[in-house]
Symmetry: C2
Subunit: 418 residues, 2 copies
């Protein structure tokens, strides 16, 4: 089944907000056999919303709309879509009561009167329960097609998609005329190798099954390779993807670390857990990013002990035992210092595994000998330590992200080598 | 001047990549008086790209297209747009030479042959220099309008917009018939207050100037209030925005912390620098996120000393001096422990300012007394310590983000109170 997405909000086009909803909706729908064939962002303006929703309904008969359902005056989606379907707004007194109970429970005083309009729904619409917010989702069907309206706040949108919209779509597909064909996809994640080098390596191997499309998705943390098969029977799709994977994996060697959406930090935590090891971090220019990435993963406490953010040199000496003489002789961004940091943090936390990063993230602080982007990474596993020097092009945020990813990858490859 | 954006990539609709380019383009163009009136995402498919670009050209006469210019087989944007403009692809030998020199300089061996197609450009197109990558930008004009093609990699796209596209657009607007009117906007950032409470507070004050639109942009870190004025003369726009700000600010009290794009961490660093204070962090459930946020800001080293990621309890005792008896009696997530963490990290780093966080981020680890989402925050300034208990609804990532923001805000309000 094909459908379109329309995201509403002037902030998306003025650039104050990044539209994460389109990607979330696509990721939730694809495994259910629904393809988002186009996504459109429009400002909070009646004509723009109306045109985009009508275009989408004409092309596919089904549009998921996010945004513009809030309690404030710039939220006009409901009114505009009600107009398209010729379904006047009516007060849903059951919903109003629920809303008032919700505010009473939060204990923040009586419900602000602006929220009352959120209980108005287009005539004939189904109200979709939104446990995380005050705007209900709305499902509206008519001769022209189906419009599904969801709040723009990502966590509310996602909750409604999972709890209300997906079950209804699945039911439609089983009972309706939509063929039982699915779009499947599988993404191989790599890091530390360029897009063109990957393409060159892959050009030397046998061709992938014809039904499978390969896309390169480069990002700061590495290049993802996405394999997609569209509108195939379930078994056939899975087999074709498996064949394609078997062709690709040998060319990726140790640059492949997992199947999306797994993060490198999660791969590493799993490996450490298997090896019954615990880990600590010593972070200078990354300032806590590596610890933050590791602790994103539920259950990180099985393997992650903690770390030292040794942003100032005093902390490198006091907390990690880096000798002052080494700092003086080689400078904070040096092989000798990063080695001492990795050893020191393992000693302090009494763990077998550790990573350390020191670098010049910029924009200030570079010299001709050590320009901005110079980074030293170290990883320690048992009594072995590996060290790597990187020169990372780009801005401060890019230098820091690539350094964090590089450090995690350094210890991952050490663990894989065992 | 109005224009549309088309972002190309199946990964955007399947949800493997979030489209950040639309927001970036909007943010870069608005101050120059160019309005993005619609943005469309389409898959890497000839017909979809062709239709979206043609629709945009018909509506506004100018389309900025990102993505699909890479060296691999799924990159077809250039071919499709060349077809629309009836401009066959030709080899640009100057560009090919530049590309070969670039590869030689990187020292990664000879240029992969797949990159050669990147030197093919539509007949009559202007090549736009891309110092960060191998695909040039392309500017193509014809009877049907103007198409500007840019690579999809965000850092390359941004570099081309700033270095090549904006100067050309500004020149067009000064020499062409476009009126010298601008869209200006200003975003007031708040944290720790809900959207509906803000709306209720604002409903009690005098109305904003009629030309100014107010939008509420709620997010995990707080609610942004965006004021926009469209197509006004420069002076008039600035005055109207100033009047609107003067009306809003008193209703926001200490929940307002700055004008976007400033981050709360940057506001805090500026305040600490003014107060000649240095700061450290003690992070349990946030695992380094607060340190990472502070060190995102260039020049953070003026005020940020470092910190301890005390994920395991052993580290809270050893590195921060939290008494074991207090941990045993009250548990790691308690007022007594967070207070001891804040004091301990200030003592260890010898600084006047510190924040500490301990909480249950989930999904495991909650109890009936301390459910998932229970968080204790502390901030210390000189000899004063403030502590706050929060119950944060939501998933692990949301609990962590709100905790980090809450801790930064706690010490910001202490500094503002002086």
């Amino acid at each position: 089944m094909d459908l379109e997405v329309v995201t509403v909000g002037s902030e998306l086009l003025l650039g104050f907000t990044i539209d994460r909803n389109t990607a979330d909706i696509g990721r939730l729908l694809a495994p259910a056999g629904c393809n988002v064939v186009r996504s459109t962002s429009v400002p909070d303006e009646e004509e723009a919303i109306r045109n985009a929703v009508l275009d989408g309904l004409h092309r596919t008969g089904m549009v998921v709309i996010t945004g513009g359902l809030g309690p404030t005056a710039d939220d006009i989606t409901k009114k505009v879509v009600a107009g398209i379907f010729d379904a006047p707004l009516e007060l849903d007194s059951d919903y109003l009561e629920k809303l008032e109970r919700r505010f009473a429970k939060l204990g923040r005083g009586p419900m602000p009167s602006v929220n009352r309009c959120q209980a108005e729904v287009p005539s004939g619409a189904t109200t979709l329960r939104n446990p995380r917010g005050t705007a209900p989702g709305l499902w509206l069907e008519g001769k022209i097609g189906t419009a599904i309206m969801l709040p723009g706040v990502p966590v509310e949108m996602r909750g409604l998609m999972e709890g209300e919209v997906l079950p209804r779509l699945r039911e439609m597909m089983f009972t309706g005329n939509s063929p039982d064909r699915v779009t499947k996809s599988c993404t191989l994640r790599t890091t530390g190798i360029s897009e063109s080098q990957l393409a060159e390596n892959l050009s030397a191997v046998e061709p992938l099954p014809r039904s499978v499309t390969l896309s390169y998705l480069p990002g700061v943390d590495g290049v993802d390779l996405r394999l997609t098969i569209k509108s195939a029977a379930g078994d056939e799709a899975a087999e074709a993807l498996d064949r394609a994977k078997a062709i690709l994996l040998p060319t990726l060697c140790d640059r492949f670390y997992g199947i999306a959406p797994i993060a490198l930090s999660e791969v590493l935590i799993d490996k450490l857990r298997d090896a019954r090891m615990r880990m600590a971090v010593a972070e200078s220019c990354t300032g806590g990013m590596i610890g933050a990435r590791l602790t994103e993963i539920p259950g990180a406490s099985d393997v992650f002990a903690g770390g030292v953010i040794c942003y100032e040199n005093t902390s490198k000496v006091r907390d990690l035992g880096v000798p002052s003489s080494v700092l003086d002789e080689y400078g904070a961004v040096s092989e000798a210092v990063v080695l001492a940091m990795a050893k020191g943090v393992c000693r302090r936390f009494g763990v077998d595994a550790g990573v350390a990063v020191t670098g010049i993230a910029g924009p200030e602080g570079g010299t001709s000998e050590k320009p901005v982007g110079t980074v030293w990474l170290a990883a320690r596993l048992g009594s072995e330590t590996r060290v790597a020097r990187r020169w990372v092009p780009g801005k401060r945020s890019e230098v820091r992200k690539r350094s964090a990813q590089g450090a995690l990858d350094l210890i991952r490859t050490m663990l894989a080598g065992d």
